[in-house]
């Protein structure tokens, strides 16, 4: 396996509405792990797509082993020895592991037994433990990631790009991944590792490049750079901290779940015997590997799925059998996990999005009729109070950046002073400015007695913001932690039930 040397010079890309790339330069040395850091929206993903041929660059050049190349499609990038693992896995659930891997590279070993043999061989060499005949839909997140990496290796890639590969992994899985990456480098490959988690970057990288507002603003040496210096380079300031000050927890329960179970269509329990209390002024964090029942927990409280056992109380009110509408009307704010799918109607103007979820209450709706005036005025209030950067209430939600969309949603869900806020991944994929603002608002509301049920994959956010942590594993609450004393590693072990360790 020959090594690869990739250099990017003065790349530029213009997009409507999104921070474009301009004058991006970096050099990935052979046999090294190069980390590219920058906050959400800094333009990292755009650069990756250009480097992998998904989108063409407007300016600049890419040099592979000193020679300029141009990629019209991923095929060209693959041919040049570049492979990419996307943050959102690019796998077809209904196809087998083998089919997903050989797709597009059928010329190498066909699509039959030869290919499967090759896949087993690579899998064994790196200790991936993959079976080519399994359907992808049966695989968990960490295994899917290994399929993605194998896909790239199968094509003989010499530079492997990984876009935020640790976002969905628990600490133990991250360690396993890093071991795999090290193994790759020893065997002559290069890795471009994209992240905004500074600790991880300092742990794995040989070189660091920093991106900010669409351009590379500097490099750093992982052995000497401190976290603070990196943050300074990345956002021009210290990173915001989710940490809360003194406790405001009261003994007044706002949400109480007693022995709640939820089953899927086939009768299998997705949630089993969940008992949980959130008090006024308390943030209860739910930690867990994605797909272990977090979504169901949120949905059963919101009345979107029905519990077949147990009861749910909001203050004194029994909400076990109530509809989503009734639950909302009793004073529950809801920040859903996927803002594009659940939180907004992207093509509607902001004022109509103000009505969403509050169809029964003034000022947006009066006596069954939508009040345009009331909704517009209140949308404007949210824009002002929550610092949503938008030309006005007539702008469609789609045109806003992720951070501004999320601030608008949080503002909307805080309207009408709710008793309880259910927040799923409230700062996922937003810039640090919006992240800090959202954390501030949650903290302020907590001070005023709001109870918060917080679901997040960001362990720093969970540990910093929560007054109490519950771990969810295969639909059960399996462990409780005090955030002031827990470590990410303890949490990770509990989240996987000790398996990943």
């Amino acid at each position: 396996m020959t090594t690869i040397d990739v250099e990017v010079r003065g790349i530029g890309k213009r997009f409507p509405g999104v921070v474009a790339n301009h004058d991006v330069s970096l050099h990935i040395r052979p046999e090294s792990v190069h980390a590219l850091i920058g906050e959400n929206g800094a333009g990292k993903s755009t650069l990756m797509k250009i480097l992998y041929g998904v989108q063409p660059a407007d300016d600049g050049e890419i040099l592979v082993d000193g020679a300029p190349v141009s990629f019209a499609s991923p095929t060209d990038a693959i041919a040049a020895g570049i492979g990419m693992v996307f943050q959102h896995f690019m796998l077809a659930d209904n196809l087998t592991v083998a089919e997903n891997i050989v797709l597009g590279a059928e010329k190498l070993h066909g699509i039959g037994d030869d290919a499967k043999r090759e896949i087993r061989e690579i899998s064994d060499r790196f200790g991936f433990g993959l079976d080519p005949d399994t359907l992808v839909e049966r695989l968990g997140v960490a295994v899917r990631q290994r399929v993605e990496i194998l896909k790239v290796l199968y094509r003989g890639a010499r530079l492997i790009i990984l876009d935020e590969p640790t976002a969905v992994l628990v600490p133990q899985e991250v360690d396993a991944l890093f071991a795999n990456l090290r193994e790759l480098v020893t065997q002559g490959r290069s890795v471009l590792f994209i992240s905004h988690k500074l600790d991880e970057v300092r742990q794995i990288a040989d070189d660091i490049s920093v991106m900010r507002r669409g351009t590379t603003v500097g490099t750093a040496d992982p052995k000497t750079a401190t976290k603070r210096e990196l943050a300074e380079l990345m956002v021009g300031a210290e990173l915001p901290s989710p940490a809360t000050s003194e406790s405001t927890v009261t003994d007044r329960p706002v949400l109480r779940l007693d022995g709640v179970s939820v089953a899927d269509d086939t009768g299998r329990d997705l949630l089993h015997d969940i008992s949980l209390t959130v008090h006024a002024g308390e943030v209860v964090g739910i930690a867990g590997v994605e797909g272990n029942g977090q979504s169901e927990l949120v949905e059963v409280v919101m009345g979107m799925v029905r519990a077949h056992a147990g009861s749910i109380h909001l203050g004194e009110d029994d909400i076990t059998r109530l509809s989503t509408r009734a639950v909302r009307d009793l004073g529950v704010g809801f920040v859903p996990e996927d803002r594009h799918r659940h939180g907004l109607v992207l093509d509607y103007p902001l004022w109509e999005n103000r009505v969403l979820g509050h169809q029964t209450s003034a000022p947006a709706v009066r006596r069954g009729l939508v009040s345009r005036k009331g909704a517009r005025a209140d949308a404007q209030r949210i824009i002002d109070e929550f610092d949503v950067r938008t030309p006005g209430v007539e702008t469609s939600a789609r045109a806003l950046s992720g951070g501004n969309q999320q601030k608008f949603i949080v503002g909307r869900e805080m309207s009408g002073s709710p008793r309880l806020l259910i927040a799923s991944h409230p700062t996922r994929g937003v810039d640090v400015g919006a992240q800090a603002a959202i954390w501030d608002h949650i903290r302020a509301a907590r001070r005023e007695g709001l109870g918060v049920l917080l679901v997040s994959a960001d362990l720093d956010e969970l540990i910093g913001l929560s007054d109490r942590l519950e771990v969810i594993l295969r639909g059960r609450l399996t462990a409780q932690f005090d955030p002031s004393s827990v470590t990410a590693s303890d949490l990770g072990e509990a989240m996987t039930g000790g398996e990943a360790a």
């Binding site: 509405g17 509809s323 989503t324 799918r341």
Partner: protein, 364 residues
């Protein structure tokens, strides 16, 4: 100024382009098979005489109702291709009921409208229930239901209607239940049917429901994003059933103007106008599910159909007008798609420009 321009470009240009494109395509096809596109255009764009004009007005009314029925479904993301079947069922049930004379005099009209709407709604609910409880695509089930409706109507009329000549029909509408039409041309035979005004009433009702009421808002939101609707507290299953029923109810009314205005009896295929339900889908698409748009689209389609009757004399098969109509629909959805993408792009650009300017202003 920009907003006016946006409205013109986004709202009016696509249908205009589509109609021109469709005319062009039809003309090319006619020319390709040795016909004269000039003759085609001449016939289509000739000034209609009073009799044809009346037909066009009445047909526009029925097409508008059909378009509204389809639009109600479209706004909720349902493709109610079953408007045709619901229209047949509503017409058949209404005609049987009205002809029976159970209710006497003008009240019979009102009662019949209720029966026709209820029958259409009930029939639409079959597809709705199958979708909600069995996960069957409403498109496929409604297509099957359309064929079943046509066969059932034929069976019912043959077995429970009366013979008239070689065909069977329902009993005739009693004379005292026949409303007077609007005689707008003194010399021409026929009039604008009384119940053609139903189109106006339903059009305004549809606009108010969708644009102003909470129910309409929830219906629209469900259409744009069922997931967001669910999170916001809409019961999507119930909304699906309500929308199907509403759409079916309106579909059941489509033929009522003709029934009360001139036909007075129902029987397939002679005493019925099959196909209006399908055209309603096209009308709704062309009119972009907006009340005024639907009225204009219905008028256009009625105009094309009305004029096409004269094509035979020019030696051109009147079927070409189906091509014009079909291509219009295809072209208009393409045009809307293109305009929509452009608009999203310009808006994103505008927002980022404005925010950049603000940022610079703040830092300066």
């Amino acid at each position: 100024m920009r907003r006016v321009l946006d409205t013109v470009v986004g709202g009016l240009l696509p249908p205009l382009v589509a109609v021109v494109a469709a005319m062009l395509a039809t003309g090319v096809l006619i020319a390709a098979f040795g016909g004269s596109p000039g003759d085609f255009l001449e016939v289509i764009f000739s000034v209609p005489n009073d009799r044809v004009l009346l037909t066009i007005i009445n047909q526009s009314a029925m097409l508008s109702i059909s378009g509204i029925a389809a639009a109600i479904g479209f706004r909720m993301g349902l493709f109610n291709i079953g408007v045709e079947g619901q229209y047949i069922v509503g017409s058949c049930a209404g005609a049987f009921f009205a002809g029976s004379g159970l209710v006497a005099g003008p009240l019979n009209i009102l009662a019949t409208l209720v029966v026709a709407a209820a029958a259409g709604a009930a029939y639409a609910l079959i597809a709705g229930l199958l979708r909600v409880y069995r996960g069957v695509s409403e498109v496929i089930s409604a297509i099957m239901l359309n064929y079943i409706a046509l066969t059932m109507a034929g069976y019912l009329v043959t077995n429970y209607g009366q013979a008239s000549g070689y065909t069977f029909t329902t009993e005739r509408l009693p004379l005292d239940s026949q409303p007077l039409g609007f005689k707008i041309f003194a010399d021409a035979p026929g009039d604008v049917w009384a119940l053609s005004s139903l189109a106006l009433i339903l059009g305004i009702g549809y606009w108010f429901l969708i644009a102003r009421t909470r129910f309409g808002f929830e219906l629209r939101v469900t259409g744009e994003s069922a997931t967001a609707a669910r999170a916001s507290g809409v019961n999507v299953k119930r909304m699906t059933l309500a929308t199907m029923a509403l759409s079916g109810a309106v579909a059941g009314l489509v033929w009522m103007p003709a029934y009360f205005g001139s036909v007075h009896t129902f029987g397939t295929p002679e005493n019925f106008q099959a196909g209006l339900g399908f055209l309603g889908l096209a009308v709704a698409l062309l009119g972009r599910n907006r009340t005024l748009g639907i009225f204009f689209a219905a008028a256009l389609f009625a105009f094309l159909s009305g004029q096409s009757n004269n094509l035979q004399s020019a030696g051109i098969a009147k079927d070409v007008i189906d091509i014009t109509q079909g291509v219009t629909v295809l072209a208009v959805v393409v045009a809307y798609e293109v305009v929509g993408r452009r608009r999203a792009k310009t808006e994103a650009e505008r927002v980022s420009r404005q925010l950049d300017a603000e940022r610079e202003g703040a830092s300066a």
